[in-house]
């Protein structure tokens, strides 16, 4: 056998190593969404042959999917519409194809469970001062570079420590803790849809409210099913640019807008949240367009929250959002015609409070989760009697 010379060896080794290194930097050109890049979008990809061999006790057959040829299945829950061959794992990491059937591996095994103030969601016009039993399993259909909960949203179900809480136990625990509602939150509830809808149906029967805190990246059919048992939602409208959605979040804008419209049509209480990321979502023109869309399509009554960004996860080279930018956006949105605009992640800002859209008087003063002033009678302004949009009740001093 002819042996290679040292020179050749050196040359080929150098070339080989260089190729290996370039493989990653060139991925943007190849469009592999799992790689972060300034050139392409970061939408997730199906994990080939990554499913476990057998199901575990926290498995449940997919709520909505179609069978294709060769044992493949297509999930119908979110716009990714993952096509999984047997043995594959979905973009959201929670679903797998085992022997031609779609299963969720996130059913009854939440990894985060807390009892939170409703204001923390944030939901400012939904039964203030009430406590919300909040839970999440792993999984997300997005890949946000600034994810607050990446430890669970970007993990597979078996990679985390989890509680065991099947739907009946979840509802029972919420009741035991005195929570009025259950929130499906933290990671992305769309990806544990089967678990969420089963809890929500039971909770509804038991008189609890269901709150959905989500990126809104869901298909129409499952959403309509969810709306049957849903009481409130906070949808994170990450930006009003499809390009930013693709680069920063790994999703698309239009399906989220569709979700907002559907929730409005289904008369679900809705609040919208936008995280103002410096250099991306701090463009006044974009915010104006976003407000224009909201006004034209769902009207002026849904509260809009502008949240302050802090460096987090992979997006840790940007400064926090200047408070004055948030103040300016709030003023701009109010000027455009949105009636309730809030500033979040900035303590003691005027934008934490609720002012009547008719008489401009202070209705609710918020110091964090503490509400020192509450000037609503039922669902009306105490001063001018105007009906304030939202879901209110009379037990205004419940938590404090």
């Amino acid at each position: 056998m002819k042996t290679i010379s040292r020179r050749d060896f050196l040359y080929y080794s150098g070339a080989l190593l260089s190729t290996a290194m370039f493989a990653d930097v060139c991925r943007p050109f190849a469009g592999d969404g799992r790689f972060i890049s300034g050139l392409d979008d970061i939408r997730g990809k199906v994990f080939k042959n990554d499913a476990p061999k057998t199901l575990w006790k926290w498995s449940h057959e997919g709520f909505l999917y179609d069978k294709l040829d060769d044992g493949k299945v297509v999930c119908g829950i979110c716009p990714h519409r993952c096509i999984l061959a047997p043995g594959d794992r979905s973009v959201c990491r929670s679903k797998v194809n085992i022997n031609g059937k779609l299963y969720s591996l996130a059913y009854g095994n939440p990894c985060a469970v807390n009892n939170d103030p409703v204001e923390k969601k944030p939901l400012f016009h939904f039964r203030p001062r009430s406590m919300v039993f909040s839970l999440a399993t792993t999984g997300c259909n997005f890949r946000c570079l600034n994810c607050q909960n990446w430890e669970i949203s970007q993990a597979k179900p078996h990679e985390v420590r989890n509680h065991e809480l099947f739907p009946a136990e979840a509802v029972e625990t919420a009741q035991r803790l005195g929570s009025e509602s259950i929130a499906y939150t933290y990671s992305e509830a769309v990806t544990f849809f089967e678990y969420m809808i089963d809890i929500a149906r039971l909770a509804k029967e038991k008189g609890l409210h269901n709150l959905w805190i989500s990126n809104g990246y869901i298909n129409q059919k499952p959403l309509l099913e969810l709306c049957k048992v849903l009481d409130g939602a906070n949808i994170n409208l990450k930006s009003y640019s499809d390009d930013i959605y693709r680069k920063l979040n790994g999703g698309r804008l239009q399906p989220v807008l569709n979700t907002l419209k559907t929730l409005h049509e289904q008369k679900i209480h809705l609040e919208v949240t936008t995280l103002v990321v410096p250099g991306y979502i701090d463009d006044e023109e974009m915010i104006k367009q976003m407000c224009g869309w909201i006004l034209d399509n769902i009207g002026p009554d849904y509260p809009l929250h502008f949240l302050r960004f802090f460096p987090k996860y992979k997006l840790d080279g940007l400064p926090p959002t200047p408070v004055s930018t948030l103040t300016r956006f709030r003023e701009l949105a109010i000027k455009e015609g949105i009636r309730y605009v809030y500033v979040g992640n900035v303590p003691n800002h005027e934008g934490n409070n609720t002012y009547c859209h008719n008489c401009s008087k202070l209705l609710i003063e918020r110091e964090g989760y503490f509400l020192p002033t509450y000037n609503l009678t039922g669902n009306k302004c105490k001063f001018c009697g105007t009906k304030i949009p939202g879901v209110w009740d009379n037990s205004a001093s419940r938590r404090d």
Binding site: M21, I36, S37, K314
Partner: protein, 712 residues
């Protein structure tokens, strides 16, 4: 010496100056662009060596067979080299946002690839120029000595290192330094061209020189623009001894960036309140507080406690100047600003404090790790009043504590618990550690109300965010079996390293395995003398990395000293090579002796580190570096002589040294140091040298091994 030869050697020296200054500025640029991570330094050095080696190899392959060596070509190449140095720095700055999402951090492989891509043109050319100069000289004098070129190049390298470390780093910005460092190269090339004797030569050379100079000058002109942020505007920029400092102003908010990381912001009320009131709420009447580094808005919160003295320790005087200038830190009564390393200050001072509050970033560098070790906490304990409190924070989590982070917190918990009876972790966006010998109170809002202190963020958010359940859940998750963190075995660094890979869902294992595979194949193909050079190359670069990291561990900063360290590691090569050239007849025995010397040196290093690393003067490390490079420089001509001294022996010896150096860089920084700590990393290098001693000293055994392994 003929005029032409002299000027060619001048070009070699000037290229040496350019290469070292460009290398040092490249390292600083990457530290500033990629969050000051030391691993980046080793990745740069690794790539630099590999690319330089490929450049050298290409020179050997194509010259003189396909590309006749000539002085005029050498001049043109030198001009291109000078121009590439500016382009390289601009590429590093500008292409980052092209390849990666603006503002995002970058994982291992993309960083490696980005370094490779941006430094490739310059490094390939610098690797090409050295042998090419030799061919130019050999075109006129066929037996021209290769060692002479090696020595001349060393003179340039040392000059460049000294120029940068003792002058440029203090006086000028990076692009000005590039301009200055490349002027000798342009001048020497111009001079060389004027000796070529070609007609109408100036018509050719003047535009080349002019374009190069113009590019170098343009680099300086556009420098401020290349630093301008996308958000807001740059209101301050300086290169201090410790890192790059920039202040961005955006809509009334000032943010201070050090090495590209936003560290201070004027509008950070929540963090300021938590940082100050969690620890001070524990004390009935705090009077003396020590702050190690700060956070925007904390002085305002400290003022509420009516303290007598606040000692604020910040290593870099330029940072404190900037903090006061832009209102990131307010001047309050009793405030003493101390510009000294926090750890050194605690070791020197005999003051006793009621509270010591650390405000430091995550321990992902050795510099920061040293504030979270057993040794440091024991120092802190000595400076705290009996009922005093120590507080520090780590990055928090919203709803789930992931495993690598749990390990990190557990290690910290176990380390600090060794010194305090009570340690409590408070969850949140930052996790605060409160450490005391008497019990810790968790109802912070109630304590503040008792003391009549108003902290609006804590009042409004505390009960919703820090429920009893959340606090106990977090504390119950601490694993008592996680090992402690120490200066010489930085477990936190290793965990941060794993966390970094976990964040990017990648692992360096594939790369290291591929590299190890190729190295093993290579090792079984080389001669004994080459193995000595390979191991010496690995040891020299390994020790250079060790010393860089040791500086970080014991003195806490590197940005400024990096030039000094690289210079001493070059400085020994020249006298070593001259000495080796004289004693080369000594052959194998001389190699064995120097191997023994290297092992002894490493042994001394282990002893010195064990006896008290942070008490060692920095001079010790520099002398050590010089001695190692002296031995390395010494071995080169001896091994070359043993190998026959011909053209192919030069290439083989050079390759062995270079591949060894590249492997030593990577294995020390990515495997030895994070996984085994500095002492065992040194021991690992000794083991490598022992192997070389066996190979050179016991030819029979090594032949047997080689055959046995190859057959199996």
């Amino acid at each position: 010496m003929k005029k032409n030869e002299r000027v060619t050697l001048l070009v070699v020296i000037a290229a040496g100056i350019s290469s070292i200054v460009v290398q040092l500025i490249t390292i600083r640029e990457f530290l500033a662009q990629f969050h000051g991570n030391e691993f980046v330094i080793s990745l740069i050095l690794f790539n630099w060596l590999i690319l330089g080696g490929i450049g050298t190899l290409v020179a050997h392959l194509i010259t003189p067979r396909y590309w006749e060596p000539s002085s005029s070509r050498l001049c043109q190449l030198s001009f291109i080299l000078a121009a590439l140095s500016v382009i390289q720095i601009y590429s590093i700055r500008e292409l980052r946002d092209f390849f990666f999402v603006h503002g995002s951090s970058v994982g291992f492989y993309p960083t490696l690839a980005y370094i490779f891509l941006t430094i490739a043109p310059y490094c390939l050319l610098i690797g090409f120029i050295l042998p090419y100069s030799l061919f130019v000289l050999r075109a006129k004098t066929p037996d021209y000595s290769g060692t002479r070129i090696y020595i001349t190049d060393n003179i340039g390298d040392i000059t460049g290192g000294a120029l940068f470390s003792f002058a440029l780093v203090f006086l000028v910005t990076p692009l000005k330094a590039i301009f200055i460092a490349n002027l000798p190269l342009v001048a020497a090339s111009f001079l060389l061209f004027s000796f070529t004797g070609k007609q109408r030569k100036y018509l050719k050379i003047i535009p080349g020189a002019a374009i190069t100079l113009l590019l170098l000058a343009a680099g300086i002109f556009f420098e401020p623009f290349s630093l301008a942020p996308s958000e807001g505007k740059l209101v301050h920029y300086s290169e201090s001894r410790y890192g790059r400092i920039a202040v961005h102003q955006d809509n009334g908010q000032h943010t201070l960036f050090t090495d590209g990381v936003p560290v201070f912001s004027t509008q950070n009320q929540s963090i300021a309140e938590e940082t100050i009131h969690y620890p001070l709420a524990q004390l009935d009447n705090p009077q003396r507080v020590l702050l190690i580094s700060g956070e925007g808005g904390i002085m305002k919160e400290l003022k509420k406690h009516g303290l007598k003295t606040v000692d604020y320790v910040e290593l870099d005087p330029e940072i404190t100047a900037v903090q006061f200038k832009f209102g990131l830190i307010e001047n309050i009564e009793g405030l003493n600003v101390i510009n000294q390393d926090g750890r050194a200050f605690l070791a020197d001072s005999d003051k006793i404090y009621d509270a010591i509050i650390l405000n430091l970033p995550e321990p992902d560098t050795f510099q920061v790790n040293r504030f979270f070790t057993d040794q440091f906490f024991s120092l802190v304990k000595k400076r705290l009043a009996p009922d005093g409190v120590l507080s520090f924070s780590m990055e928090g989590y919203d709803n789930y504590l992931a495993e690598p982070q749990r390990q990190k917190l557990s290690s910290l918990y176990n380390t600090v618990k060794n010194h305090f009876k009570h340690v409590l972790l408070m969850p949140g966006l930052k996790i605060f550690f409160l450490c005391r010998d008497i019990s810790i109170k968790t109802d912070i809002p109630a304590r503040l109300a008792e003391k009549g202190i108003i902290a609006r963020y804590i009042r409004g958010y505390y009960y919703g965010n820090l429920t009893k359940k959340r606090i106990s859940d977090l504390n119950n998750l601490m694993d008592p079996n996680t090992p402690k963190n120490s200066d010489d075995s930085p477990l936190l660094m290793r965990l941060m390293f794993s966390q970094w890979f976990a964040k990017f869902s990648s692992s360096p294992v594939g790369f290291i395995a591929a590299l190890a595979g190729l190295t093993i194949i290579y090792l079984f193909r080389i001669k004994r003398e080459e193995f000595v050079l390979f191991s010496t190359g690995a040891m020299t670069m390994g020790s250079e990395i060790l010393i860089i990291f040791a500086f970080q561990i014991f003195y806490g900063y590197i940005y400024f000293q990096i030039g000094l360290i690289i210079t001493v590691f070059l400085a020994g090569l020249l006298p070593g090579a001259l000495l080796g050239d004289r004693l080369r007849e000594g052959g194998k025995q001389i190699l064995v002796l120097t191997d023994g010397l290297l092992i002894t040196l490493m042994g001394i290093l282990i002893l010195a580190l064990k006896m008290g690393g942070d008490r060692l003067p920095s001079f010790f490390f520099l002398v050590f570096g010089f001695m190692v490079s002296l031995a390395c420089g010494f071995q080169f001509p001896v091994a070359l002589h043993l190998g026959g001294g011909g053209n192919s022996a030069v290439t083989r010896s050079f390759s062995a040294d270079l591949i060894g150096a590249a492997c030593g860089t990577l294995i020390t920084s990515l495997v030895f140091l994070p996984y085994f700590g500095i002492i065992w990393a040194t021991a690992g290098l000794i083991f490598l040298k022992l192997a070389s001693l066996i190979v050179i000293g016991t030819p029979k055994l090594s032949n047997f091994l080689r055959r046995y392994v190859l057959r199996s």
